[in-house]
Symmetry: C2
Subunit: 326 residues, 2 copies
């Protein structure tokens, strides 16, 4: 829910004139996404997204993000791709901020997750992991194991305001994860934030993936764990094994996960759960009182974490290496 930067019509027209995309016919801020300012830009040649990168994005990471989108799109993946201006640049400056014009992607993200959406996200993730295999740039995941304890410590003193006992639970979970985190799984480019609002569908069909601004180089199976958390729990908190199976079998059509990856899913799911729990907890404790953007409930992820803590193996997710290969 963000348009942080105001753009004047004159500045915009001059900016657009440096691309070969015709003249501006309409321009409006988009009320989705909280990290950057996004605008729907229409010109005499088509529709585009103008993104201005706000302070939560490190400008040094932008060549990675834009290069990745371009690489994936060139490989045929349905995702936005940055446009080149008349001098060949994708990363530009507008209103003193880094910015880019990217292609517009049709589709809607699913507000209520149906089983076929889980098939779609499995396909999208499989496409991403295979198309990204020969992408040469790398980026460290800034929200992985080593980052969680320092992030926790920023909220530790007040965590129990959200739920009594939460600080202690998180402390013990971090101990567990630091002792058991798998370190030798196949690595590559992952999306790392493949939530429903980043996956577009037209009807039941996947139409593309957006928002690569957490993408990084990490264990491929960690992306699966993020998706199991984000797509396979029902609103009542129960885990939907059917959805998990659909996701994994769709993924396996493009890339077959190894037995080691399948076996690691419960601990990876614990890690993915604590990662979103910790950022939500921090935002919950630090958002301005009465702010328009309501922070997301960290306890949703505490409940998911508890499910994973109790899981005895990938079978509790309905997943086996054989099932994934179906």
């Amino acid at each position: 829910m963000a348009v942080y930067t105001a753009v004047s019509d004159e500045d915009l027209q001059a900016f657009v004139a440096s691309y070969d995309i015709g003249e501006v016919t309409s321009f409006a801020g988009i009320a989705e996404g909280v990290e950057n300012s996004n605008f729907m830009l229409r010109t005499t040649t088509g529709s585009y997204i103008l993104t201005l990168y706000e302070k939560r994005v490190n400008p040094e990471d932008l060549p990675f993000f834009l290069g990745l989108m371009e690489h994936l799109a060139a490989k045929g993946m349905a995702c936005p791709t940055p446009l080149h201006d008349r001098e060949g640049r994708t990363l530009r400056t507008l209103n003193g901020k880094p910015g880019a014009i990217i292609s517009f992607l049709d589709g809607m993200w699913p507000r209520r997750i149906q089983p076929q959406h889980c098939t779609g996200v499995g396909i999208a993730m499989g496409q991403l992991h295979t198309a990204g295999a020969d992408f040469t740039m790398t980026r460290r995941n800034g929200l992985t194991l080593e980052d969680w304890r320092p992030l926790f410590e920023k909220s530790e003193a007040r965590a129990d305001e959200v739920c009594p006992g939460l600080a202690d639970m998180l402390r013990r979970e971090l101990d567990y994860l630091e002792a058991h985190w798998p370190r030798d799984l196949p690595r590559g480019v992952i999306h790392a934030d493949l939530f429903p609002d980043n996956v577009f569908f037209k009807g039941a069909e996947l139409s593309g993936v957006i928002d690569f601004y957490f993408a990084c180089t990490d264990a491929l199976a960690y992306d699966i764990a993020v998706c199991l958390n984000a797509w396979c729990f029902e609103p009542d908190g129960s885990f939907n094994i059917t959805k998990a199976r659909l996701m994994l079998s769709a993924y396996a059509r493009l890339r077959q996960p190894s037995e080691a990856e399948i076996a690691a899913l419960p601990v990876l799911c614990r890690g993915a759960a604590i990662r979103f729990l910790l950022t939500r907890l921090y935002d919950w404790l630090n958002h301005p009182e009465g702010a328009f953007v309501k922070p997301k409930d960290p306890m949703e992820y505490a409940h998911k974490l508890r499910f994973h803590q109790r899981a005895s193996g990938p079978g509790d997710y309905g997943i086996t290496a054989a099932a994934a290969a179906q």
Copy 2:
């Protein structure tokens, strides 16, 4: 900056299916406007705006607003028009809220006002006042003379927090306006909120007017006064006579204001200034701390009001009946 209502893809698809506009291809909340939830809706047949009316709009007023847009568009005015569903209805319900699909208008509102924009808004206002002359519905202006004192009283005790002496100044201004408000000027449909963000241009050319949700039946010249306030002051607070003359002469090409209307402009400008000053003051004193939507500065309108209080007549605005008729 508003998307207050979340709309699920299934509800949206069912809603759109009741119109003859094809199938949804994309859907995104628009981060402009604070009264309603607006969405950019694209279908296989074109682009539309879906508006859901939130609690600041009285549902009983919606037939007036939608009927007015349809009337004006049918008369050839460039403005959005509500679509009819397969049963002929324009006003519908979605997610338990009143809603409508309206046509999409190309163009951008001017962030920095140039003289030619003042010509454009003069034309738009003239078109509105002439095209609206035979619109048969009426709606009382809910923010006119009788409403200002009760609105002021809600902020009176804390007005001096914004600026020492403000409460006293406002009290005396209301006394003046209650004694001098003109009551026999030509009346008709006015927009009543014709600010730059409600007037679209393509390059220097007016492309249309949006946001009729303050429209009402009132003195036509009051609309001119709103526009003199909103379009003819420079960022440094000075009044730009050239812009005022361009606006009035463009308006007069479509509708010649009477001498009585011209003579009343200074007091109408005082009224228009206090109307926006009072709503901004209320919002300033009552917005949640740290809210994402920054309230507009009420003192901008206190300075404009002071300019009007000092004006000795329409000549101080560069305006005479003869000049308007040029």
